[in-house]
Symmetry: C2
Amino acid sequence: MFDVKTLCLGILTMGDASGYEIKKIFEERFSHFFAASFGSIYPALNKLTQEGLVTCAAQAQSKRPDKKVYSITPAGKIAFMDTLNQPLAPDRHRSEFLALMMFSHLLTLRQLSDAIDGKIAEYRREIDAISDCENERPCSPGEEFVAGFGKAIYEAAIRYVEDHRHIVEGPALLSAAPEKDLTS
Amino acid sequence: MFDVKTLCLGILTMGDASGYEIKKIFEERFSHFFAASFGSIYPALNKLTQEGLVTCAAQAQSKRPDKKVYSITPAGKIAFMDTLNQPLAPDRHRSEFLALMMFSHLLTLRQLSDAIDGKIAEYRREIDAISDCENERPCSPGEEFVAGFGKAIYEAAIRYVEDHRHIVEGPALLSAAPEKDLTS
DNA sequence: TGATACTATATCATACCGATATATTGCAAG
DNA sequence: CTTGCAATATATCGGTATGATATAGTATCA
């Protein structure tokens, strides 16, 4: 069971980090399959510290809030290796775009086309973000696999939407047509 | 912004339903892009009733809890049409499988292969579930589009994982090999 | 000089999930 | 022939997570 707490622990197996740095790692390398906000990361780190799975060294910085650098403990490593054997929960997806498409019959052609074009653009941005991340740092096999997965999925999504948008746009086109029919 | 409350309202534009029936609709037709539990559906329906966007008619059933059938009001329809114009939040995904793959270097080949095989099987089950749903009822264009999207994505996922599992399994194979090397 | 962005930690209301409670019907396997 | 499981039906609660906001100094660019 991979909650934010467990993933923070996992990230700390790759090296010490502050809460802020962990957030950046979530955004840069985990964003297309997992999200975590400060509101869950900071409490998670506090709990992990209480449980003795990580330690916290406060680096006093002049003119900035103390930087709290967290390190995983041997007990923490054992706990993390343990969760790696736990059964995986099924994937979960939330797409407001697909929810909107379920009600395509209530939309005008314009609304529909704008939503679809915007979504394709979003998918392209995701692909670019993954490519950037790949180029910046050397990747472990795991990271390479996950990045490739993300790209493959977004590319498939673009292909599907481009090839099948007519399914929803067609009927909207017809329901907008009657105006023209009067003149023909 | 499509939260559970808004989607309940949307489902009620397609016909009256009880909380229990709404849950089933979420599971059967929305499950691959949106999840909602009783813990969010019942409170959502209560709020919608308070706001006058739906009405509730309690059907007394002998030997069962009263069935509360909800209907959307004209004000509810207007409110729903209104949210359809709101900007879409980006898609969100949570995959424990990909999280696990990020730590593939900590796993044995056996753990890795089992996880991958299990995930492929899960993807296949999802595709079958979508196909079943398609055959059972006549589909609106929106439903057809969304179902096709789900299938396309899961098929792409299977293809990617089958074609690229060696990226993570290869290194695990090598780190397990030394035993054999002694005899060769 | 002012605006914006970045580093850095923290909290709070709101939302949501998963488990559990309660109660009845009906079917199937042992 | 009864025991257990699945389905129908509503509801609550603890725990987890999000998104917005607060605070506060540095840096950069116009």
